[in-house]
């Protein structure tokens, strides 16, 4: 028997900000969940199961917070799963939830991811010294900067590419009312003049620390038929992992990312992603990851990704818009960032992305990665159901 088609019929997110001091963690997640239910015109009673994800528990200082959040998410008496796959967790969470529908275990599932970074300090939460293990240094930036350098050396990309990405994403964020950073006076010169944090990554080429949550209602074919607004259909989804470090690992373009994308494209029948996909929400926490992932995802040949960025192809009005929402560079509630990518992809094919809508978007990719560029989660969503 084939898999049940999976549809996104409700999407909700909070206005992402540096610190939501007005709500508890429970209040934050409930706000996003409530908005997703409203979008789907469903109630808590219509939800069969809840799948929640977030990044390390140290980011809030609550061990397995889903236990405490069961009430706030209407999960009492229902199944509740908690996913944690490092930075890719938001994507993985959506995929685990989608599997429940695809396997016909449940008809309608609420999936949600969050981070309330203001409760703690993520950079130092990531930097706890562990005996006999390589230190992560000052958070993720210190870890990834050498990988960016390796890409620049390998591809011969001009130094300015990173700033172009940041300038684009921050301008896109101005069109997204939920984005954290709204820098109305942003200029390319300001990005390029911002302080160097982890050479070659400048302050303005770095993601912010955000409080935020994002939720989706996933349902089966029958649920989609009842939906008040156009659904987004899952055309393919996959996860891939590889070890943190080993001799021969390509940190610039990890094999796990290539394999994950290939699996998604195979499921969706995509043979030429650059032509067949109308846009992508890619996990870009540091600006240079846009050209790096464009290559890893097969949108550009090796060493050629930066040329797409430089030519404006990834701009909102380009022919392969990337991070129309403003991306992780403008909004980063870590555990939720992957789910936001997946949800923003769904918003696009539902035609509900508002000012940052790509005209006529029919197939859009959502992408997340985590750990030491080792965990990947992706999905491709479309405006038409699979096999139609």
């Amino acid at each position: 028997m084939s898999k049940e088609p999976v549809a996104v019929v409700g999407i909700g997110q909070t206005k992402h900000v540096a610190a939501r001091r007005d709500v508890s963690i429970a209040g934050l997640v409930r706000e996003a969940a409530r908005r997703a239910l409203d979008d789907a015109e469903l109630t808590w009673a219509d939800i069969d199961a809840v799948v929640i994800g977030k990044a390390p528990d140290f980011f809030e200082g609550v061990m397995m917070p889903e236990l405490y959040l069961a009430d706030a998410l209407g999960a009492v008496g229902k199944p509740m799963l908690r996913v944690h796959t490092a930075g890719s967790v938001g994507g993985s969470t959506a995929l685990v939830a989608a599997n429940l529908v695809a396997a016909r275990v449940h008809g309608t599932v609420l999936t949600l991811a969050f981070e309330k970074q203001s409760e703690s300090n993520a950079m130092w939460g990531l930097s706890l010294p562990i005996p006999f293990q390589q230190p992560l240094l000052a958070g993720a930036g210190g870890f990834f900067a050498p990988h960016v350098r390796a890409y620049m050396r390998r591809s011969g990309a001009p130094d300015t590419i990173g700033s172009l990405v940041a300038y684009k994403d921050r301008r896109n964020a101005l069109k997204n009312p939920y984005a954290h950073l709204h820098e109305h006076d942003i200029t390319l010169e300001k990005v390029q003049a911002s302080p160097m944090l982890w050479d070659p990554i400048r302050y303005s080429e770095t993601c912010p620390s955000s409080d935020g949550a994002c939720a989706m209602v996933l349902t089966d074919r029958a649920g989609a038929a009842r939906a008040p607004r156009p659904p987004a259909w899952m055309l393919g989804g996959a996860m891939r992992s590889e070890p943190t470090m080993f001799a021969g690992k390509d940190v610039v373009s990890p094999q796990a990312g290539k394999d994950c994308a290939a699996d998604v494209y195979r499921q969706a029948g995509i043979t030429d992603p650059r032509r067949e996909i109308d846009g992508a929400e890619i996990y870009v926490p540091f600006s240079w990851y846009e050209p790096m992932w464009l290559e890893n995802l097969g949108f550009a040949d090796e060493g050629e990704g930066w040329k797409l960025t430089e030519a404006g192809v990834t701009e909102l009005d380009g022919d392969l818009p990337v991070n129309m929402s403003g991306g992780v560079l403008s909004t980063n509630p870590i555990g939720a960032s992957g789910l936001i990518r997946f949800a923003e992809a769904a918003l696009q094919v539902r035609g509900q992305a508002g000012e940052h809508q790509v005209e006529g978007a029919r197939k859009v990719l959502g992408h997340a990665y985590g750990g030491g560029s080792q965990f990947f989660a992706m999905w491709l969503v479309g405006s038409e159901p699979p096999d139609s």
Partner: protein, 349 residues
Amino acid sequence: MNREIAVVAFAQTDHRRTSEELSEVEMLMPVLHDVLGRTGLKTADIGFTCSGSSDYLAGRAFSFTLALDGVGAWPPISESHVEMDGAWALYEAWTKLLTGDADTALVYSYGKSSPGPLRDVLTRQLDPYYVAPLWPDSVALAALQAQALIDAGDTDEPALAAVAARSRADAAANSHAQLRGSVPHGEYVVRPLRTGDCPPIGDGAAAVILAAGQRARELCARPAWIRGVDHRIEAHSLGVRDLTDSPSTRLAAERAGAFERPVDTAELHAPFTSQEVVLRKALKLGDGVRVNPSGGALAANPVMAAGLIRIGEAAARIHRGESDRALAHATSGPCLQQNLVAVLEGDPR
């Protein structure tokens, strides 16, 4: 979707009070080799891998990322992780196999409780605003539950002591158990719970292989077919729950088909003697049912693995022909807040 899925292999560590000379990867690797060896499979043959663990035990973010080194995730693998007991990792893997995306799955979980004071660490699971600041520890909360049971006339201290004695006596035959054979029932830890009513604190890991349909029959002489598996969560606040009952366990058991026919064996994840009383009632287990022949969590309770071990132990009894229909249960959260029930069956003999 009616895909038949079975537990075809199970392996676990010898659970010990401390494993300080071993990293989590070093603790896990022999178990992974053991479970793969039982089926002749290699990492590259596995269709999906899923694990369960908690960063709070290791005291570092992303502790599970290094465990991947033990799996040997190269070439890259299709993999996921839950910040839950491994029983829920098995649940995720089961749904993955149901979709037909994979025919085999490796499920593992591990927990090292020895690096920190576990009773204090587990308080971090509680409502962070109203309860966690009071640091009510896991034994104190279980004692509230035990006292509620005694007050309700559901049990008494001698009956609890008998649960403890039976569990440790059964564990004498389980070489992996941490507490084996007769153990003094001891002084009160938190009244009415004595040392003997509480689980040992220890380190350990476990792994299970799932396979679908014909693949399961190829890999195992007598697969333990998962007839049903379901899990449910209750409210977090103890004040709004009836601690003498476990409606989430009952509902999960119903959904898993546990009440359709009697089981002959039940592996219950009851870290405290009093919790076995609650679970027996919720699951309507009669006197004829063999409960925790492994010794259960009272004999070895490596946090994050102990639930998966219940499923593994129940499956292993079916593999060995010692059970035809078994129930396995896993729990998470304070006072049995979240519960999972799986029903396993062997082919007729």
